[in-house]
């Protein structure tokens, strides 16, 4: 999948299987990615688990788990907030669109998480204070946490060379889209040719699944809602 890190680095990764996105003193987020089409390196997210750790007088430990076609509007124990403590409502699950869009507000750590199902796959977005991002547990080298350091080098896909190869072809690829028809489709939702647009083109060419137009579109909508610097909403690569 495509990853925008806390440092606004943008990468496209293989990362098949279970990988940690975030792990600190207050919460952990893990995703599981599966191949989209047999024989392709491209994967997409099919499972997501978030653990909010017990926090003083505010909230009990809570787990949120989503899978394809199971986007619950509650934590795994059926509750929608942080438990029975005085500050329990500082952690809340809010269903925005049934089975498609959930927000989790963890006010005690200034954090908002958006989980969506688009087509058959999940998307994840978070807004978090730097202090929380950097609240590293002692002895934890944090190397593999994707949101913090990005994907390991051997797990990255070079979107630029993919684009160069796809652009030189005129016939439709194995998934039914030509480079030009994929661009035209993505332009309908993402008029600015930034990394979200490029991701959309990549996703259509590698999967043939038109739903991924919406995945890139909603990912950008989430950036607009969650990113604190409006000058950094669009990111550009290659042609910068």
């Amino acid at each position: 999948p495509h990853l925008r890190t806390f440092g606004d680095d943008f990468q496209t990764c293989k990362v098949e299987g279970a990988w940690p996105l975030i792990h600190n003193k207050y919460l952990s987020v893990q995703v599981t990615n599966s191949p989209v089409v047999p024989g392709s390196l491209a994967t997409a997210t099919t499972k997501l688990t978030i653990i909010f750790k017990n926090f003083q007088q505010c909230v009990d430990q809570k787990m949120y788990h989503a899978e394809t076609d199971q986007l619950p509007s509650a934590f795994a124990d059926g509750s929608k907030n942080g438990g029975d403590r005085h500050g329990a409502n500082a952690l809340q699950v809010v269903e925005k669109v049934l089975g498609q869009h959930v927000e989790i507000h963890a006010r005690y750590i200034g954090t908002t998480i958006v989980v969506r199902q688009v087509g058959r796959y999940l998307t994840f977005a978070v807004r978090m204070p730097e202090e929380v991002v950097n609240s590293v547990e002692e002895g934890d080298n944090q190397d593999l946490y994707l949101c913090l350091h990005g994907c390991p080098t051997n797990q990255r896909i070079d979107l630029e060379s993919f684009r160069a190869r796809a652009g030189s072809r005129t016939s439709a690829g194995p998934r039914g889209f030509t480079y030009q028809s994929a661009k035209a489709k993505c332009k309908e939702r993402l008029p600015v040719e930034d990394v979200y647009f490029q991701s959309c083109v990549f996703d259509l060419l590698s999967s043939g699944d038109i739903n991924f137009t919406m995945a890139a579109f909603y990912a950008f909508e989430d950036v607009k809602m969650l990113h604190s610097n409006s000058n950094r909403h669009h990111l550009f690569k290659g042609k910068a």
Binding site: A42, F55, P129, S199, A219
Partner: protein, 122 residues
């Protein structure tokens, strides 16, 4: 960051519901302990919550800041935790101020920087 040690000392020193003066003495010792952790706990939410909560508890129990402090009492049963600070948050559903990130930061602290991470698509 040794903030939890301060909490343990507070629990140990407030062994039973006693007169207000006893609670104030324990609270002042707790305040001193928390202050000593300021440098190492700078990025720790528990520290900032504690720092914020002490002032509220002091005023709730009419404690003076100038009076003596106590040492933790040995071999006493663990008391119930002190009452949560008074709810003054503008978002009442969030609970006490220690449970609201922005409100738990020191009053003169610079505004927090927020970061974003996103994961989507193929």
């Amino acid at each position: 960051c040794k903030i939890l040690k301060c909490n343990s000392e507070l629990w140990a020193s407030t062994s039973k519901t006693g007169p207000e003066e006893d609670f104030c003495i324990a609270l002042r010792a707790y305040d001193n302990c928390v202050r000593r952790t300021a440098r190492t706990c700078r990025g720790d939410l528990t520290y900032h919550s504690a720092q914020h909560g002490i002032g509220d508890l002091m005023s709730q129990h009419n404690c003076s800041k100038e009076e003596p402090t106590s040492q933790p009492r040995a071999r006493t049963p663990l008391p119930p935790p002190p009452p949560p600070p008074v709810l003054t948050s503008q978002e009442p559903s969030s609970g006490p101020e220690g449970c609201h990130y922005e409100h738990s930061l020191p009053r003169n602290a610079p505004p927090s920087n927020y970061t974003h991470c996103g994961f989507f698509g193929v």
